[in-house]
Amino acid sequence: MAGMGKIARRGFLIGAATVAGGLALGVYSLRQPYSSPLSKDLPAGMAALTPYVVIDRTGVTLITPRAEMGQGATSIQAALLAEELDIPLDAVRTDPGIPAPAYYNARIVAEGLPFAATDTGWLAETARETGAMVGKLMSLQITGGSTTVPDAYDRLRMAGATARAMLVTAAARRLGLDEAALRTEAGAVIAPDGTRLSYVELAPAAGRLLEPRKVALKDPSDWRILGKPMQRLDIVAKSTGTARYGIDQTAPGMLFATVRTNPARGGGVLHVDASRAESMRGVVKVMRLPDGIGVLADNTWRAFQAAKEVEIEWGPAPSPANTEALFDSIAGAFETRRDSRLKNEGDVEAALAGGADVEAEYRVPFLAHAPLEPMTAFAWFRNGMLELRAGTQIPRFVIDTAQRLSGLHEDLVGLYALPMGGSFGRRLEDDFIDQAVRLAWAAEGRPVRLTWSREEDMARDFPRPAAIARGRGRVEGGQVAALDLAIAAPSVSASQMGRLGVPTMGPDTAIVAGAWDQPFAIPSCRVTGHRAPETVPVSSWRSVGASANAFFHESLMDELIHAAGADPLAERLRLCTHAPSARVLEAVGQLSGWGTDPGPGRGRGLAFCLSFGVPCAEVVEVTATAEGIRIDRVLAVAEVGRVLDPVNIENQIQGGVIWGLGHAIWGELTHAEGRVEQANFDSYRAMRIDECPEIVVQALGSGGPVRGIGEPPVPPAAPALANAIFAATGQRLRSLPLARSVRFV
């Protein structure tokens, strides 16, 4: 946190560069980089080389603007910078920096475009470039969509190389030598005679130079850090209880807050009687909040106890009352609300005119993010400014929210972004920030730390939407000949972007992502999306649309392949049109011993999904025991273009598989009387260590675009498990969670 004092305070004073002119800006000015938030009024002795490298007398600080939710974002951003800067990772500090337009995400918009990752044609590429400009124009500093690495891969290496070039130029001038005669190593410029000038001593002079227009990047064969196992920069803190999350923030005189809001979201408050709560020990204040109440107390437990004691008459639920009504609303969209038909090859109607060989309906439930750290935020009004500390995936939106509520100028709202105790998409929302600001305002100058109870966190999640798919298909001559998949779901993009005030247009690709964009050439193939009404607000959940749609697509594929009498791996390979995807399928086949006899009572299931540009294939092996299904082993292969950290990628893929399997087996939010029925981890079950199978991972880096791995391992897990259960038992499971249909041991 050493860097925080300096940089965050400067953030209050200087503020971030603002976007002027909106859409009136032309393409030319859009291509100009935003001015660095570090570029002016630096404290004496501090130099900023690019928006990412800050050097003062005490050393080098690397700015890592993408949020740390557990995926190792901080470490990989630092590694990309440090590699080109030529400085060891243990010799740098990191700081999330001041939220600023300069840190826009150039990849986040492209993810939602209606072009498959396999499409590298002119139109798709142009659209992606335009998407990058939209991201820049809207200064979307967002962490999500597995975009951190693809967005940072060139950009941060360029930043590191630029800073290094400036330090070399400063050294060349100081020594009166040609730049070409100098080399860099371990945080210093080294002259032919062995003279070492440290970056720290060169920084003031380097900081006065203009950034070079062109720098060369290292050849990967010269990498010292990237591509090799790294020690995560946060690993010691996270292994010793010294990492500081939102829930751990403190300040002198701090009040501890919690909230209790209508469990039927949006129902409002009819009547509040806080008299008993207000008289409880340690309670400072009970206040009204939108849709509920907030409590300020002298510790979290007393705030929790008092919140329960407030007598509240809730308003009626504005959404359909129960799970059945919610599914009815989704099913109704098949008839009325076509949203997209992004894949329509061959002639599906003609192919199916003679009847379908397979016709089936599939369902997936609403799911909670439930990160283990519930929603938390720290807020403090002091000296005419608002200081926020919170874990968030959307720092600029958080500042906007705080600014709107407080009436303070943007420059007077400071946010220090904290590591998150998990997010999985949940902290793409800033509802808890809104509450923290209101509570801090009521605290009249005292700092406030807001902590949600787990029950509040479950009741007020913005869930992964439920969805229904209707599939039909035809086989011919031992091959899959036609596949027709219609998917109905509420629009995550419209719901989420609506809350952020960002307009969305056209079809929502999330409704069909992971199904329409798969690299298989089935002679007649159609994928249609239907937009269901937004009955309850929904949001991005690890792997978003693909989390549901891979289950639909890969279950239907498996049924068709079995109907054709073909082999699930061989038939997918025969149909596959994308070399990296075929490579992944072949590799998982080899890894799993596909085609060998799995043994009595055992079965193997295969599923594949290309999501976020990453082909990922998984084989699940199960045994049907007398007590129920036992998952023995999972084999997972993913192609990411280049493996930047072999240890972290294994951890991420294993974690994604566990996330996918655990939710496939038990995960479900049900509704009654307009409320979510699951209140805690007793009713919202997740995979535990004694339920976790062996997971063998192979990460491929065969060239091509460099991709992120946070989400792609999730989608294939559920269908691979369901397909394995079919292989072992002959029972086809078309509805999640699977534990509703079979027992697991």
């Binding site: 557990g70 010691v236 510790n299 283990l372 750290e373 105790g421 998990g422 787990r454 996330w659 260590i689």
Partner: protein, 152 residues
């Protein structure tokens, strides 16, 4: 009331029914112990009470009948406990939020059962939820910690 935490005696003025978790976090400022569920389902609040792993959200302050050790008392960044050293070497953590509890549960297991088999490791850590899914690395880290402890 009087509590001994990480070898230091504290006099705290709290309700006897206040869970130990919140005394540690909000009264004593030992924030390495985490809140995740409050009902004994997630294990993020696991500490040692008289050397045994307990979920501190389920222990009322008034019922604390022995010395308490938290993650801060197990080891430090400068001098990590062998279990913590194994966690670091194995690169277990993702978000890291559950890991204090996982480490405390693992340390209690190894104190009692120095060479646990796979089933004993799973049984001892059953109560500790990890949403990120670091279980394969947790298993590896417990085995490595057992080796480290045996070698002294």
């Amino acid at each position: 009331m009087r509590l001994t935490v990480n070898g230091t005696e504290h006099e705290v003025d709290v309700e006897p029914e206040m869970p130990l978790l919140w005394v540690l976090r909000d009264v004593l400022g030992l924030t390495g112990t985490k809140y995740g569920c409050g009902i004994g389902q997630c294990g993020a609040c696991t500490v040692h009470l008289g050397g045994r792993a307990v979920q501190s959200c389920q222990i009322a302050a008034g019922d604390v009948d022995g010395p308490v050790t938290t993650i801060e008392g197990l080891g430090t960044p400068e001098a990590p406990h062998p279990v913590q050293a194994a966690w670091i070497e194995t690169q277990v953590a993702q978000c890291g939020y559950c890991q204090s509890g996982q480490i405390m549960a693992a340390a209690a297991l190894l104190a009692e059962t120095p060479q646990p088999d796979a089933a004993q490791i799973d049984a001892a850590l059953h109560a500790n939820l990890c949403r990120c899914g670091t279980y394969p690395r947790i298993r590896a880290a417990v085995r490595l910690a057992a080796d480290k402890l045996r070698e002294g």
